[in-house]
C-alpha cells in the first residue's frame, strides 16, 4: 500500500451530506473486475444524466477541478453499504483524501485499507473549507504528520484515528502483521475450545 504523508493537490468541494456508498458507486457497476478500473463509476448518477452526459453543475465536472485529489463534503460521508468498491471508485478516480465532519465507520476503515485518508473536521471548519473552495481556491495541503489542512490563508486541524494514521503514514498492510501472530492465534484457539465448546457449528448441521 502506498504511504500517505503530505499531499498537495487539487481539492473539490462537494457540499452534500450523507453521500452514501450507493451514490459513490451504484450497485449495477459492481460486477466489474477491479482491473478494469472503477474511476469512471465514481458518483456516477450524480455526475452524469440519464443519457450519460456529464451534468455541468456537478462540482467534480467543473473543468477547473479536473484532476482533483481531495474532496471536501458535509457530514455522514460514506454511510450505508460496506461495499469497498466505493473506495475503489474514489481511489481509481485519483482521490487520496476525503474531508468531512463524520464518516460511515465501515467506509472509513475500507478507505484506510486502500491508502485513502478520511480526515475528520468540525462542522464549522468543514463549512469554511467548502466556502474557500467555492470562492475560487483550488490547491490544498493535507499534512498527515501535523494533522492539518491548509488552503490559502486558512489552516484547520483534522483528526484521524491514531492507529489508522500510523498505518497510512507507513503504508502498512494488516495481513503481514497478523501472520506474525500465528502462535498467539494458535494458543487462543486451544484455550477457546475449552472455554466455549458451543461456539463451533454443530457438525452435519
Amino acid at each position: 500500500m502506498e504511504a500517505f504523508t503530505k499531499l498537495n493537490g487539487m481539492a473539490c468541494p462537494l457540499p452534500l451530506s450523507s453521500v452514501d456508498t450507493d451514490q459513490l458507486i451504484p450497485a449495477r457497476f459492481m460486477k466489474r473486475s477491479r482491473a478494469e478500473g472503477y474511476g469512471g463509476f465514481l458518483l456516477h448518477d450524480l455526475r452524469f444524466d440519464e443519457a450519460g452526459a456529464p451534468r455541468p453543475d456537478f462540482p467534480l465536472n467543473a473543468p477547473e477541478r479536473a484532476g482533483a485529489q481531495v474532496i471536501v463534503a458535509r457530514r455522514n460521508f460514506g454511510s450505508g453499504s460496506s461495499r469497498e468498491a466505493a473506495v475503489y471508485a474514489l481511489v481509481d478516480y485519483g482521490i487520496r483524501c476525503v474531508i468531512a465532519p463524520s464518516f460511515g465507520d465501515i467506509f472509513a476503515s475500507n478507505a484506510v485499507n486502500n491508502g485513502l485518508l478520511p480526515a475528520k473536521v468540525t462542522e464549522a471548519d468543514g463549512e469554511s473549507l467548502i466556502a474557500a473552495l467555492e470562492d475560487g481556491a483550488h490547491d490544498m495541503l493535507v499534512d498527515l504528520e501535523d494533522c492539518r489542512i491548509v488552503v490559502g490563508n486558512l489552516s484547520v486541524p483534522f483528526t484521524v484515528d491514531p492507529v489508522w494514521r500510523t498505518k497510512l503514514l507507513n503504508g502498512w498492510d494488516d495481513i503481514d502483521l497478523t501472520m506474525s501472530q500465528a502462535d498467539a492465534i494458535k494458543a487462543f484457539v486451544a484455550a477457546d475450545v475449552q472455554a466455549r465448546p458451543w461456539a463451533m457449528p454443530r457438525r452435519g448441521g
Binding site: 457540499p15 452534500l16 451530506s17 450523507s18 452514501d20 450507493d22 451514490q23 451504484p26 450497485a27 449495477r28 459492481m30 460486477k31 473486475s33 477491479r34 448518477d45 440519464e50 458535509r74 457530514r75 455522514n76 454511510s79 450505508g80 453499504s81 460496506s82 461495499r83 469497498e84 468498491a85 473506495v87 463524520s102 464518516f103 460511515g104 465507520d105 465501515i106 476503515s109 475500507n110 485499507n113 486502500n114 462542522e123 463549512e127 484515528d161 491514531p162 492507529v163 494488516d174 495481513i175 502483521l177 497478523t178 501472520m179 501472530q181 498467539a184 492465534i185 487462543f188 484457539v189 477457546d192 466455549r196 465448546p197 458451543w198 461456539a199 463451533m200 457449528p201 454443530r202 448441521g205
Partner: protein, 472 residues
C-alpha cells in the same frame, strides 16, 4: 480474559472473550467465529488468489447466494449472463475452498441475515462478520456482528481474525407497551430520526428496556438490522428466554446437554446492572406511531400523521440544503401530508422485514382486499416461503394481486434485476431510501410490512391502524 475491570456491558463480555492480541495503541486482534460470504466476495477471493493463500477455517466460513439471485425464474440458464456470472463465481470459490454453500437449490437458501439465525449458525456470544453492512442483524441474539469491506473479508479468510479498535458503547432504552400494530421497524426508524443517521457512529449499540424485551426474535432482528442506518458499528440485544427458545433445535446449534450448558453461558452475557455506557438514549415506547420516511436518508423519518418538512423552517443550513435536495429528488412539496403521497408499487422483503411475522403482518392487512398498485413479496428464505405457504399467506398476497416470488435480496438493492423504474415511487419494507437504491431514479419510502400492505390497498401512504380494526 477480562480486559475491563469492574462491571461490563454485554458488548464487553463478548469482545473480551475474542481478544487474541491486544496492542498498546488500542488495536485488538479478534477471533472470528462465523464468516458469511455472498456473491460480492469475489474481490476478496481475488486478493487471496493474488497471495496464493488458502482459507484458514473453511469450517467457520459459509457461502450464501442471495444478492444476485433471480426471484422469478430459478433457472440460471434463463437469466442475464452478467448476473449468472456473479453467482457462478461464488460457487467456484466455495467449491475450490471446500465451503458449505447455501445455493439456490438448498432448502436453507435465503438472505444471509435470515439464514444465519434460522439455521442456528448465529448464536449468542459469537463474533460474526460478513461483507455486508447489515450484519449487525445477528446482534439480536447477543452476538457481536458487524459488516466489513473486501480487504477485511480477505483478512478473515486468510487468518480467521480481524484487527479492530474497541468502539464506544451506547445504550438505547425503549420502555413502555407498544400501541397495537406498532412494530420493531417503527422503533428503529424513531431511534434513527431522533439520533441521526450518524448518531451512533463509532459506537456499539445495545437495545434495552421493556419494549425491546417484549419483542420476538423476528422483531429484535429487524431492530438490530437498522443499527447501521443509525451509523452504529453493531447493535445487540441481551440473550434471554426468548432467545433460548428460538435457538433450541436449530440445525447448527448445539443439542441436548451441550445446548443447556451453552444456554447457561449465554444468559450470563447480559450487561451487568451497573455497567457504564458512553452514551445513553431513552425513548418512550408507548408513544411510537407508525413511521414512514419521506426523504433520501433513513433519518428522514416521521409518523404517518405528519407532513413533509419545509426546508425554510429547518434550523441549520446543512439540514435545509439536505431537505431541499431530498424532497426535490423525491418529487414532494413542503407541507404535503404524508398520507397524500401516491405510490406506484410496493415491495415486501429484504433482511429487514421478510421473516414469517412480517409476512403475517402484511397478510393481516391484505386479506380479502385488492392492491391498487403492483407489488412484489419476496420471503427472506426458502424456509419462510414454505411456512408462509403452509399458512396460506401466499394465497392472500396473490388474491390481492401481488406477486409472490422466491427468496433473495431482490428489490432491496436491485442487483438481480428486480428494479423500481426511474421516477417510480415504492413503499418498501427495506432499510435504505438512498437515491437510486432500488434502481436508477427510484424513490423509496421505508415502512413496516403492515404499512406497505396498507399502501398497496389504498395506493398512497396510509396509516394501517384503521385497516386493522376488527381484525386479528
Amino acid at each position: 480474559m477480562a480486559l475491563v475491570a469492574g462491571p461490563r456491558a454485554l458488548f464487553d463480555k463478548v469482545w473480551d472473550a475474542h481478544v487474541v492480541v491486544q496492542r498498546e495503541d488500542g488495536q485488538n486482534l479478534l477471533w472470528i467465529d462465523r464468516h458469511f460470504l455472498h456473491e460480492g466476495s469475489f474481490h476478496a477471493f481475488d486478493k487471496l488468489k493474488g497471495r496464493g493463500a488458502e482459507v484458514a477455517r473453511p469450517d467457520l466460513t459459509f457461502g450464501i447466494e442471495d444478492h444476485y439471485v433471480p426471484t422469478r425464474v430459478r433457472d440460471l440458464a434463463k437469466i442475464d449472463p452478467a448476473i449468472r456470472d456473479m453467482i457462478e463465481r461464488l460457487r467456484g470459490n466455495a467449491s475450490r475452498h471446500h465451503l458449505k454453500l447455501f445455493g439456490l437449490d438448498d432448502p436453507g437458501q435465503g438472505i444471509v441475515h435470515v439464514v444465519g439465525p434460522e439455521q442456528g449458525l448465529t448464536l449468542p456470544g459469537l463474533t460474526i462478520v460478513c461483507g455486508d453492512s447489515h450484519t449487525a442483524t445477528h446482534g439480536a441474539f447477543g452476538a457481536l456482528a458487524f459488516g466489513i469491506g473486501a480487504s477485511e473479508v480477505a483478512h478473515v479468510l486468510m487468518t480467521q481474525t480481524l484487527w479492530q479498535k474497541r468502539p464506544k458503547r451506547m445504550r438505547i432504552n425503549v420502555d413502555g407497551k407498544l400501541a397495537p400494530g406498532i412494530v420493531a421497524k417503527d422503533i428503529a426508524l424513531s431511534i434513527i430520526a431522533a439520533i441521526g443517521a450518524d448518531g451512533a457512529a463509532g459506537h456499539a449499540m445495545e437495545y434495552a428496556g421493556s419494549s425491546v424485551r417484549a419483542l420476538s426474535m423476528e422483531g429484535r432482528l429487524t431492530l438490530c438490522n437498522l443499527s447501521i442506518e443509525a451509523g452504529g458499528r453493531c447493535g445487540m440485544v441481551a440473550p434471554d428466554e426468548t432467545t433460548i427458545a428460538y435457538l433450541r433445535g436449530r440445525p447448527f446449534a448445539p443439542q441436548g446437554a451441550d445446548f443447556d450448558r451453552a444456554a447457561a453461558d449465554w444468559l450470563a452475557l447480559a450487561s451487568d446492572a451497573d455497567a457504564v455506557f458512553d452514551k445513553e438514549v431513552s425513548l418512550d415506547g408507548s408513544g411510537i406511531a407508525p413511521i414512514v420516511t419521506w426523504g433520501t436518508s433513513p433519518e428522514d423519518a416521521l409518523p404517518i400523521t405528519m407532513a413533509v418538512p419545509d426546508p425554510d423552517k429547518a434550523g441549520d443550513p446543512g439540514r435545509a440544503a439536505h431537505i431541499r435536495d431530498a424532497i426535490d429528488y423525491m418529487g414532494l412539496k413542503p407541507g404535503q401530508k404524508l398520507t397524500d403521497i401516491r405510490v406506484d408499487r410496493i415491495f415486501i422483503g429484504s433482511c429487514t422485514n421478510s421473516r414469517i411475522e412480517d409476512m403475517r403482518a402484511a397478510a393481516a392487512v391484505l386479506a380479502g382486499r385488492k392492491a391498487q398498485v403492483p407489488g412484489l413479496v419476496s420471503p427472506g428464505s426458502a424456509q419462510v416461503k414454505r411456512q408462509a405457504e403452509e399458512e396460506g399467506l401466499d394465497r392472500i398476497f396473490t388474491a390481492a394481486g401481488l406477486e409472490w416470488v422466491d427468496s433473495g435480496c431482490s428489490m432491496c438493492v436491485g442487483m438481480n434485476g428486480d428494479l423500481v423504474a426511474p421516477g417510480e415511487r415504492c413503499a418498501s419494507t427495506t432499510n435504505r431510501n438512498f437515491r437510486g437504491r432500488q434502481g436508477p431514479g427510484s424513490r423509496t419510502h421505508l415502512m413496516s410490512p403492515a404499512m406497505a400492505a396498507a399502501a398497496a390497498v389504498t395506493g398512497h401512504l396510509t396509516d394501517m391502524r384503521p385497516l386493522l380494526k376488527g381484525r386479528n
